[in-house]
Symmetry: C2
Subunit: 206 residues, 2 copies
Amino acid sequence: MSLQSEALQTIPARQGKAVRIAKDQQIRVINTHGAQVLDTWAVSAADTREYMSMEHTRSINSRWAIQTGLVFVSTRRRPMLTVIADTTPGAHDTLLCACSIEIYRELGVTGYHDNCEDNLHAALRDAGLTLPVTPAPLNLFMNIPIDADGSIRREPPSSRPGDAITFRAEMDLWMIFSACPQDITIINGAERKPTDAHFSRSAIPA
Amino acid sequence: MSLQSEALQTIPARQGKAVRIAKDQQIRVINTHGAQVLDTWAVSAADTREYMSMEHTRSINSRWAIQTGLVFVSTRRRPMLTVIADTTPGAHDTLLCACSIEIYRELGVTGYHDNCEDNLHAALRDAGLTLPVTPAPLNLFMNIPIDADGSIRREPPSSRPGDAITFRAEMDLWMIFSACPQDITIINGAERKPTDAHFSRSAIPA
């Protein structure tokens, strides 16, 4: 990142945050403690009806897995985010839904439980935005090996403290992060302890 | 199917069709000519804000591939459709988007081209329904092998003429089919010739 990068910003444990990013600006997303999944969405700043699509991204790249250089596209097939660096071993998920209150019910929770779906919509509201649906998320740092027999496994993140993935924005957009509050399964690490994560944006290009 | 099944209904080549199905009713979806992909959606009859979700279905089944017995769930994690029989070799896709006008632009088409996204919304309109988005489809008979290196391939359907997949509805719902109009790639077979497909519903349970 350039010397003009902003100070580290916090994505608080169990919470969501909407972040404005200009075209050509970069954002470095840091797994500060190493085992925190970040459910991630992107929405066009010009028109919230256009948002980042996992199914169009898999289609246009002919890939189900992420790698450096991969371009995430919108529901209208326009480039939104390019992966320009990734210090993790590469485990990120594009296949699974955000956690929601129904999932915590399935896990036996009877009262309210923080969840990525509600975090998305709360963060959008804070930014003055709304979406009529919960799009399929990009689950940064989430380790979901898939098997040839058609099954999916859930493993703790393979990232280490300080590992980061860096994106360049290809249009003016909002990114929305949710520091996943899952504390029942081992998806946020064997300690089942959701933590803060951080990000830093480069200066807005002139 | 029982003797009470209706006569075969047609899903016309290149077009969409919305079909009402009652809880516990069965529908047999037939690849009449063997190589036709059907993009497929399901929407709750009680509330169109609840619709079939590929990302929740992969999550709740811990599977990216389909098999007999698999239950497709909604955005609210409720069962919508159960696969009760499948005479194909099993190749159906849950990973890729519906084709849209932008995809035909990428393929060099300059004028209008029929596409599954527009077919979905036209079929919904004919049924008096609307959706604010195009959900990720279940692509019946679409043959998308996935590789351990993270890539996805596109192959012609492996189904044979008359192969069929049968579902039981787990709630009152609409199914929407689009006989995919893709005639540039080999996704609907090497002949690149979209065809009709058919379905038949069992009697509505008493």
